[in-house]
């Protein structure tokens, strides 16, 4: 047992060259993005490709995309916990961390989009509850608080384990002592923690659903063509979970490789999540098809202009790429056992994330390019500033993740111990995976 666990402590105890290399590359990207953003602060949103009538672009796309990704944690750790799926144990922490960091990035992007970020607190001073943006602020704050709590609670026993390991530097031991809140692992403590985690797992599901519903309502509450749709709430939630699972698979693959976690993150995990992904690919296709067929059949001029902008005009490459990545590829790759390999699932997940980003873009931008009244300019080309912020967002996400997994165990040690027998039963398949990867 101790032998097998050594690999879980290693990232926190030893810092290799790889860590410094990754951190410096990410640091450079972040510095570049910070430069681009500070230039935007100084000059104004003039440095973006935004205009009239395309008032929203890449930043809002990123906002919706990252909030979507944040649903990974909720799905895996909360839904699977509530349903008692044992295989979730080694990947819950990784998923919960995605939730928290993606939320930070999502809210960050909406602040970057603001013309006057210095007036952010006006939302608290003058907030009016009839604005869907204020619904967003409320449900996002609740979600961030809840998911931080939900990340922290199952971390407590692990922090106590780390506190008791003498090999770590002084300041880290001090940190773990403070954060573990005097956890000694008594029956009473365990009982209380399980209860709290159980309550949070149930609570966080409706909160997560509300968050992405409200994000969709920012669009759906307006009367703009192809935004004013009643299925946007569930449609966005489905898309969010879809891209959330895909992100979790990518993160799992990176963690497994860089920390040699083959005996914890097994092929079975990729296969199970791959199947879930397939289910959500179907759900996504169903919602998308319903949405577009309804718009097409109704034949309303304003809606038709937006629809054909996507189907056959300038957005058609992005629109059909979205269908390819979100439905055709997952359908072909994941429904066939021979292609639903670890590598196949990872590749599909990467394409799904690109596809889901395109989906957000295809919702935000085309509608704005086709206003009801005649308008002289109606195109949008993001500038290098916006691309830099997008790149910086991914870099910050990775940076938060790298630092987190340096200081905290990315696999929940006590939860895996608790589910020890199940892990033991899966062990034969593990060695095969290790051999294949080496």
């Amino acid at each position: 047992m101790e032998d097998r666990e050594a690999v879980l402590f290693k990232p926190m105890e030893k810092t290799g060259r790889g860590f410094y290399l990754v951190v410096s590359i990410l640091g450079l990207i972040l510095a570049w993005a910070a430069f681009a953003y500070s230039r935007q602060l100084a000059i104004g949103l003039d440095v973006t490709g935004l205009n009239r009538p395309v008032y929203w672009g890449l930043y809002i796309t990123n906002f919706v995309f990252f909030i979507g990704i944040s649903h990974a944690g909720t799905l895996v750790s909360a839904i699977l916990r509530v349903f008692g799926a044992e295989w979730r144990r080694p990947i819950t922490r990784a998923a919960e961390a995605i939730t928290v960091f993606a939320l930070v990035l999502g809210t960050g992007n909406i602040m970057i989009d603001m013309g006057r970020p210095d007036r952010l607190l006006n939302i608290l001073r003058y907030g009016r509850f009839q604005s869907p943006l204020v619904w967003d602020v409320v449900s996002l704050s609740i979600y961030l608080t809840a998911s931080l709590t939900y990340l922290y609670l199952p971390l407590i026993p692990d922090l106590a384990i780390l506190r008791d390991r003498p090999s770590l530097p002084r300041w880290r031991q001090w940190l773990y002592t403070k954060l573990s809140l005097g956890w000694t692992g008594t029956e009473v403590q365990k009982h209380r923690l399980e209860r709290l985690i159980g309550i949070m797992a149930v609570l966080i599901i409706p909160i997560a659903v509300s968050v992405h519903t409200v994000v969709s309502w920012v669009f759906a509450m307006t009367v703009q063509p192809m935004w004013h749709s009643t299925i946007f709430g569930p449609y966005f939630v489905i898309g969010a979970i879809f891209s959330g699972i895909a992100t979790l698979i990518i993160v799992m693959a990176i963690l497994r490789r860089s920390f040699k976690l083959y005996s914890y993150i097994t092929d079975q995990h990729f296969s199970n999540l791959g199947l879930l992904l397939l289910v959500f690919a179907f759900l996504w296709a169903y919602f998308t098809f319903s949405e577009y067929l309804t718009e097409f059949y109704g034949n309303e001029p304003a809606g038709m202009r937006v629809l054909f902008a996507k189907l056959t005009e300038e957005f058609s490459p992005l629109f059909w790429a979205m269908w390819l990545f979100n439905f055709v590829v997952p359908f072909v790759m994941l429904s066939n056992r021979r292609t639903r390999t670890v590598r196949g699932t990872i590749l599909t997940s990467i394409l799904i994330n690109i596809g889901m980003w395109l989906e957000r873009y295809n919702i935000v931008v085309p509608t704005l390019t086709r206003p009801r009244l005649p308008s002289p300019v109606s195109s949008y080309l993001p500038t290098w500033t916006e691309w830099s912020v997008l790149l910086g967002s991914f870099a910050l996400f990775a940076m938060l993740y790298v630092v987190f997994s340096k200081v905290f165990p990315i696999i929940s040690i006590w939860e895996v111990r608790e589910g020890g027998e199940i892990a033991a039963r899966q062990a034969p398949g593990v060695h095969a995976a290790e051999a294949a990867a080496d």
Binding site: L45, G49, L50, P53, M114, R116, R128, V218, V223
Partner: protein, 209 residues
């Protein structure tokens, strides 16, 4: 309390754009410059929309002068998260420049696209630097601005005063005897995108009737 409204007679309008020019001067509207105008960043509180339909030789051009509609039921006011956009007691849809956070949700929600964003610090051509209207505040970068129906000089908006064809009328829609009320009740009167339920207070009189 008056309910301010405007009527524009499309039969009398010659699309000279004097209204647009007068509006810019009156309201200290900044210059975007050729590059930004090309990109769609120019600010026009008032604009003359043009649309060409049909194929040669049966071509038809339509011109529609377009101030803010000052909707009775304004979608922009509903979505503003901080109350920077509001409707005053006389029915005008106005903007609190010092409160706006620049999220542009109001612009996205307005079906008439009458709202404008300050993509950068306001600029004017050199020769106009000494001709700012002291009655109208200068708007900084990062916030949204729009037509106010010239709330600082009611009841004579600059666009109406400048119109050489007497195509524009302004007054109290609440008063049944006012010119605007009478015209708005007439058979030629219509409003833009009426079916959206926004209840605009700008009426147009149909052409060629």
């Amino acid at each position: 309390m008056p309910r301010w409204g405007m009527v524009i007679d499309l039969d009398r309008c010659v699309a000279c754009q004097a209204c647009t020019a007068a509006c810019r001067a009156e309201n200290n509207v900044a210059f975007a410059g050729p590059e930004d105008t090309e990109l769609g960043r120019a600010i026009f509180w008032h604009e003359v929309l043009s649309e060409v339909s049909g194929e040669y030789p049966n071509v038809r051009g339509t011109f529609i002068p377009r101030p803010c509609m000052h909707c009775e039921n304004p979608p922009c006011v509903r979505v503003c998260p901080v109350g920077a956009t509001y409707q005053d007691e006389e029915g005008l849809v106005l903007q609190r420049y010092e409160r706006c956070i620049g999220c542009r949700y109001c612009m996205v929600a307005c079906p008439y696209a009458v709202r404008y964003f300050n993509w950068r610090d306001p600029q004017w051509v050199e020769s106009l630097n000494n001709y700012r209207n002291p009655d109208v505040p200068i708007r900084p970068k990062g916030i949204v601005e729009k037509c106010t129906f010239c709330s600082h000089r009611l009841p004579v908006p600059a666009c109406n005063q400048a119109c050489p064809g007497n195509a524009r009328f302004f007054g109290d829609l609440e008063d049944p005897d006012s010119v605007v009320s009478q015209l708005a009740r007439g058979p030629r009167a219509f409003r833009l995108l009426e079916d959206l339920g926004t209840e605009p207070k700008v009426y147009y009189l149909r052409e060629g009737a």
